[in-house]
């Protein structure tokens, strides 16, 4: 009798477990559909004639057309927009890696008076909301005559305190013994930095590179402030913003073609490097 009750209990919990597992997957799948659907919609509508988008937004294209892409290619200087964005985002990323890693090495491994105070002051600046710097930064860049040039975005973006912080935290974990050994073998600070620290810090360098590149690629506000009046220097985000406002509904496919073309490279890069991206996001938040 008791064993009977027990087996029925076990069966019951098993069913319950299975049920809850299926329910979990069901909810997660619904969530995934909610996330993916807008992208699907974007790509589908980029192949649809404009009036069809307006009348029947949910349907698949009745005829697949690439007119949207062709017009976008003709009206927007896509190559230039891409080139500009790559110049800005690439330089910002490289400069951050270069200066940031050196600063992080100094803060993590070199001993000099006032080091910890300096680091605390740097951390303190992160607490200040960016909005406070907006007008002063703009005034300085305006007086320097940099408005309308890439350097208005590249130079102020060359150093990120948060990047330094992340790299410093990582480099601190590198044992001092390795550095001492290298020093005994006659290695200078530059040698230690280049031959020991940088190779060992590769994971954090990748994290910083991903986050910085993504931030710079997606930076709209900076481009709006400094590059607005010079269409030759527009980045992708600024180009999309201006393009979007001038399109009538019957040509809506152009908007979707432009949006697809602009977001696809970064999404593809994300799917290829998803492991690194995930790690970068996780590290960004766990202080």
């Amino acid at each position: 009798m008791t064993s009977n009750v027990r087996t029925s209990y076990i069966i019951k919990t098993k069913i319950q477990k299975n049920l809850s597992r299926w329910l979990t997957y069901l909810i997660l799948t619904i969530g995934a559909i909610v996330v993916i659907y807008p992208f699907f919609y974007m790509v589908m509508n980029s192949f649809k004639p404009g009036p069809e988008i307006a009348h029947d937004p949910l349907s698949l294209p009745s005829t697949w057309i690439v007119r949207g892409y062709v017009t976008v290619w003709k009206t927007l200087n896509v190559v230039r927009l891409y080139g500009n964005t790559i110049i800005v985002a690439g330089s910002v990323t490289l400069l951050n890696l270069f200066f940031g890693s050196m600063a992080a090495y100094a803060l993590a491994k070199l001993h000099f008076p006032g080091r910890d105070t300096l680091f605390k002051v740097m951390l303190g600046t992160m607490m200040i909301p960016n909005i406070l710097f907006l007008i002063p930064t703009y005034m300085i860049i305006y007086r320097l005559g940099w408005v309308g040039h890439f350097r208005a975005l590249i130079i102020p973006g060359a150093i990120g305190v948060y990047n330094i912080f992340m790299m410093k935290q990582f480099m601190q974990k590198i044992p001092d013994e390795i550095i001492d050994c290298a020093r005994i073998d006659g290695c200078g600070d530059l040698g230690i930095y280049l031959r020991i620290i940088l190779p060992l810090a590769r994971p954090v360098l990748i994290t910083v590179a991903i986050l910085t590149f993504m931030g710079a690629w997606n930076n709209f506000f900076g481009a709006l402030l400094y590059l607005q009046d010079n269409p030759d220097k527009w980045t992708l985000q600024l180009g999309l913003y201006h393009f979007r406002t001038g399109i009538p509904t019957e040509n809506a496919e152009q908007i979707w073609a432009a949006t697809t073309g602009i977001s696809a490279p970064l999404i593809l890069l994300y799917f290829i490097l998803q492991k690194q991206f995930m790690k970068a996001f996780a590290e960004m938040n766990l202080k």
Binding site: V35, P57, I135, L240, N285
Partner: protein
């Protein structure tokens, strides 16, 4: 000095502060519930969890301009959601949310939730995985229900992650700009329903070229953000004590 008094007594500035707080209240509640819920579900999944995480992260990679272009069409009167709701009879007339001052900000918060819940999910998931399983076992032996376990173990143990998310949300969220700049004029629409402090400041500085006044507004906003952050940290600390 005059700029300060004008700033403090400027009704539009306070309207923008109200708007952004209204928006953030929606955004914080939505993301907190959704990302905590998804994280709890993901923790139970053994296979396929990575696939789901990868998918949930995709909007993160897109720029605000792309997400807003997508989102505004999705929830717009001729977009797929409203078309579906209209044909299903849930809605009787299309909702022009950009002109309705009650729902403009909640809708923007919804679009932003779609963009940002993935990253918070990962933060919460990392926190959940870090909780000692022994705590749950002990509670189960004591006969605690699932809800009691969630309320008395999960939530307190997740405190650091929740604080982090709240603080960063407030600092970043109060400085919202691109989302409203793209879809509304410099006054945030006819009834200033989408006016945010940074949008207002931008208009003053770069449309009216009143840099002095814009700087004062910037300082006021920064002070407010600082104050809110302090209050949050204080409240949390008291809870821990």
């Amino acid at each position: 000095m005059g700029n300060w008094i004008t700033g403090i007594t400027d009704p539009l500035f306070w309207k923008s502060i109200f708007n952004i707080c209204y928006n953030q209240a929606w955004f914080i509640c939505l993301t907190l519930v959704i990302s905590l819920g998804v994280a709890l579900l993901l923790k139970q999944v053994e296979t396929g969890g990575r696939l789901f995480r990868t998918i949930y992260f995709t909007p993160q990679v897109c720029s605000v301009v792309v997400v807003m272009t997508l989102g505004v069409y999705m929830v717009g009167p001729s977009g797929p959601i409203q078309t579906f709701l209209l044909s299903a009879g849930v809605l009787e007339t299309p909702v022009y949310w950009q002109f309705d001052e009650r729902i403009t900000m909640p809708m923007l918060a919804m679009i932003n939730t779609w963009k940002w819940f993935g990253i918070q999910t990962v933060i919460f998931l990392a926190g959940l995985i870090g909780i000692e399983p022994a705590l749950y076992e002990a509670a189960e032996l004591d006969g605690a229900s699932a809800w009691q376990r969630f309320w008395n173990i999960t939530l307190p143990q997740l405190n650091p992650q929740i604080v982090f998310v709240l603080v960063t949300n407030v600092i970043n969220g109060l400085q919202m700009f691109t989302e409203v700049f793209m879809n509304f004029d410099l006054y945030g629409g006819m009834k200033n329903q989408a006016l945010t402090p940074v949008l207002y400041l931008y208009g003053k500085a770069f449309d009216r070229f009143n840099m002095g006044y814009a700087s004062s507004l910037g300082l006021l906003l920064a002070g407010l953000i600082f104050l809110l952050t302090l209050v949050q940290l204080k409240l949390v600390q008291r809870e821990i004590d």
